[in-house]
C-alpha cells in the first residue's frame, strides 16, 4: 500500500462530499447575491445617513470595522462576511464535526475502526484535518464570489484585500473545528454535541458583541474567536495584521491535540 496515510481523512471527506459541495455552492451564490445587492442598493442609498440616526451601539454592533456602506469592502463585510463566516459557516462545521467522533462511537462504527492498527490520536487528528476540506472550499467559494461578482458589476476593488480576509478566515474556522472536535470526544452523543456546538457559536458571538458594547467587560472578548478575526479590517479598512491569526492557529492546534489527548484516555462505550 503506497498511500498509507490519511485514509481516515479521505474517507471522512468522501462520506460528507454531498454536504460539502452543496454548502459551498450556497456560500458562492449568496456571495454573488450580496454583490448584486450592493450594485442595486449601495451606490444610491445612503446607508450612512440612516445609520447615524440610530443609537451608537447599533453602529458598533454592525459596523465593527467599516468605512461606510457606500464602500464595497464595508458593504460586503457587513452583509456577507460577518453573517456567513461568523455564524452560518461555523454552524455548518458544527454539524460536520459533531458526528465525526461522537457519532461514530454512538453508531458503533468506531468498534471496527479501532480494531485496526490506528491510534486514537490518529483518528482524532485525521478527522480534524478532514474538516479542512470544507473550510478551504468554502473560503475559496467566498473569495470567488466576491472577485467574480466585483468584476461582473464593475466595482473598483483590489482583490488582495479579499485574499487576506479569506486567508485569515482559515485559522478562524479551524479554531471552531478544533472546539467541535474536542466536544465530540467529550460527549458521546451526536445530538448533544451539535446542540452545544451551535450554542457555542451564537453564545461566543454575543459575548464578542457584549465585550465591545458594554463598559468594563472588554476582557470577555478574549474567549471569543471573533475577537481575533475581523474580516472588515482587511476588506474595508485595508489593514492587514497577522497577530490575531497567529493566536487562532495556536488555539486550533491546541484544541486538536487536546481532543486527541482526551480521546486516548477514554473508554469506547460498547
Amino acid at each position: 500500500m503506497v498511500m498509507a496515510m490519511f485514509e481516515i481523512t479521505r474517507h471522512e471527506i468522501r462520506q460528507k462530499r454531498k454536504g460539502i459541495v452543496t454548502f459551498s455552492l450556497f456560500v458562492f451564490f449568496f456571495g454573488i447575491m450580496m454583490v448584486a445587492a450592493f450594485e442595486t442598493l449601495g451606490a444610491g442609498l445612503d446607508m450612512d445617513e440612516l445609520f447615524e440616526s440610530y443609537p451608537a451601539f447599533v453602529t458598533e454592533l454592525f459596523g465593527k470595522s467599516i468605512v461606510s456602506f457606500g464602500d464595497f469592502g464595508s458593504f460586503i463585510t457587513v452583509e456577507y462576511l460577518q453573517w456567513v463566516w461568523y455564524l452560518i459557516v461555523p454552524a455548518y462545521l458544527a454539524l460536520f464535526c459533531a458526528g465525526s467522533i461522537a457519532g461514530e462511537v454512538e453508531r458503533k462504527t468506531a468498534d471496527i475502526l479501532l480494531s485496526y492498527p490506528v491510534s486514537r490520536q490518529r483518528v482524532v487528528l485525521e478527522k480534524f484535518l478532514a474538516a479542512g476540506a470544507p473550510v478551504l472550499l468554502i473560503n475559496g467559494m467566498g473569495l470567488a464570489a466576491i472577485l467574480v461578482g466585483a468584476a461582473a458589476v464593475d466595482v473598483a476593488f483590489e482583490a488582495r484585500w479579499a485574499v487576506y480576509a479569506f486567508m485569515q478566515a482559515t485559522p478562524f474556522l479551524l479554531v471552531w473545528v478544533g472546539a467541535f472536535t474536542l466536544l465530540s470526544v467529550l460527549v458521546y452523543n451526536e445530538k448533544t454535541v451539535s446542540t452545544l456546538s451551535i450554542g457555542a457559536v451564537f453564545g461566543l458571538y454575543v459575548l464578542d458583541v457584549v465585550s465591545r458594547l458594554v463598559e468594563g467587560v472588554s476582557f470577555l472578548g478574549y474567549v471569543s474567536p471573533m475577537h481575533y478575526y475581523d474580516p472588515g479590517r482587511a476588506m474595508a479598512l485595508n489593514i492587514v495584521a497577522w497577530g490575531g491569526s497567529i493566536v487562532l492557529v495556536a488555539a486550533a492546534v491546541a484544541l486538536a491535540f487536546g481532543a486527541a489527548y482526551v480521546f486516548t484516555r477514554r473508554d469506547i462505550s460498547g
Partner: protein, 302 residues
C-alpha cells in the same frame, strides 16, 4: 507463549451522577488461550464476555489486572497487536453510503497491508460487492464482518457472538469455516451464550457468569455435563418411579407431569415414557442455566 493471557482482569464501570456509583463488569478474570485452539467464552448475556474482549482490544481500559495478546501488553502495544488480530464485534454497524466493496477497501487501507484473502472470502460468503451496505440484512452484514476480520489472514480472530443473525444453514457453513481456519493454524477466541455452539466448535471453554469465571473446561467435559431436558405431561397420574432410568440425573415434578434432565443418552427413558399415556412432550438441549444449576452453584462460583 499463550496467544491471549489475562491475570485477575477486573473492570468496574463508573456510572455518571452525583453519587459515584460503580457496576461490576468483570472481576478477577484469569485465563489463557493457546495457539491453534478455538477457545470459547460461554455465558449468559451480561456475563462479562464483551467487556473482556473490549479490554483485549483496548476499546475499554481495565480497572485492575493485566492482559496480553500475542505476548504484547494489551494496552501499551495495542496498535501493534491489532496488526495481527481480526475482530467481529457484537453489534455490527457500517458506514452509510458505501458499497460492500468500498467498505472492504477502506478497511484494507486501514490495515496498511494487502488483504490477501479478500477474494477468497468474498466468494466463500457470497458478498455482492457493488451493493450499498445499507440495503443489507443483518445476516449479510455479519458475513461482511467475518470477511473483514479474516481477510488479512491474522494470527488471532476475536469474535463476539459471531453467529447471531446468521440463518441455520449459513451458521453451519460458518462453523465448518472456523474449524478449517483452526486446522490451518489460526487461534480463535469467541463468545457465545449458546451451549450447542460452544460444543460444536470450541476446544476449550471458560464459563463466565456475573463477571466471574466459573470454570475452564475441555469441551468433552462440557458434553458430559449436558444432555437433554424432557418436559412430559401425562393423561393420568404417573409415579416418578415409572419414568426413572439410570439415564435420568434429575427429576422435578409438575402438576401433571415431570421435567427430567438426562445425559446425552435418552433411549431407555423414552421407551419408558412411550409406554405411558403421554399428553404432551418436548425435548430440548440442556440449557446453560440448567448446567449452572447443576454443576456450579447459583452465583457462578465453582
Amino acid at each position: 507463549m499463550n496467544i491471549i493471557e489475562t491475570h485477575e482482569l477486573t473492570k468496574y464501570y463508573v456510572r455518571p451522577g452525583l453519587k459515584k456509583r460503580q457496576t461490576m463488569g468483570i472481576e478477577q478474570v484469569s485465563f489463557a488461550v493457546r495457539r491453534g485452539e478455538i477457545f470459547g467464552f460461554l455465558g449468559p448475556n451480561g456475563a462479562g464476555k464483551t467487556t473482556t474482549m473490549r479490554i483485549l482490544l483496548d476499546l475499554i481500559r481495565p480497572t485492575g489486572g493485566t492482559a496480553s495478546v500475542l505476548g504484547l501488553d494489551a494496552q501499551k502495544d495495542t496498535v501493534e497487536i491489532r496488526r495481527h488480530v481480526g475482530y467481529i464485534p457484537g453489534e455490527i454497524l457500517f458506514y452509510e453510503g458505501m458499497t460492500a466493496g468500498d467498505l472492504l477497501r477502506y478497511y484494507e487501507q486501514l490495515m496498511g497491508a494487502p488483504a490477501t484473502r479478500k477474494g477468497e472470502l468474498v466468494s466463500l460468503f457470497d458478498i455482492p460487492l457493488d451493493r450499498p451496505v445499507k440495503t443489507f440484512s443483518k445476516g449479510m452484514k455479519q458475513k461482511i464482518a467475518i470477511v473483514q476480520a479474516f481477510m488479512h489472514d491474522p494470527e488471532l480472530v476475536i469474535m463476539d457472538e459471531p453467529s447471531s443473525g446468521l440463518d441455520p444453514l449459513v451458521q453451519q457453513r460458518f462453523y465448518d469455516f472456523l474449524l478449517r481456519e483452526r486446522a490451518s493454524g489460526k487461534t480463535i477466541f469467541l463468545s457465545t451464550h449458546i451451549l450447542g455452539e460452544a460444543q460444536r466448535v470450541c476446544d476449550r471453554v471458560a464459563i463466565i457468569r456475573k463477571g466471574r469465571i466459573a470454570a475452564i473446561e475441555d469441551v468433552a467435559e462440557l458434553r458430559a455435563k449436558s444432555g437433554k431436558r424432557i418436559t412430559v405431561t401425562f393423561e393420568g397420574p404417573v409415579d416418578e418411579a415409572d419414568i426413572m432410568t439410570p439415564e435420568v440425573r434429575d427429576v422435578a415434578p409438575l402438576e401433571d407431569g415431570y421435567v427430567l434432565h438426562t445425559g446425552s443418552r435418552v433411549t431407555k427413558t423414552l421407551r419408558r415414557i412411550a409406554a405411558l399415556p403421554v399428553a404432551d412432550i418436548s425435548i430440548e438441549e440442556t440449557s446453560l442455566e440448567d448446567i449452572f444449576m447443576h454443576y456450579y452453584d447459583g452465583d457462578g462460583d465453582v
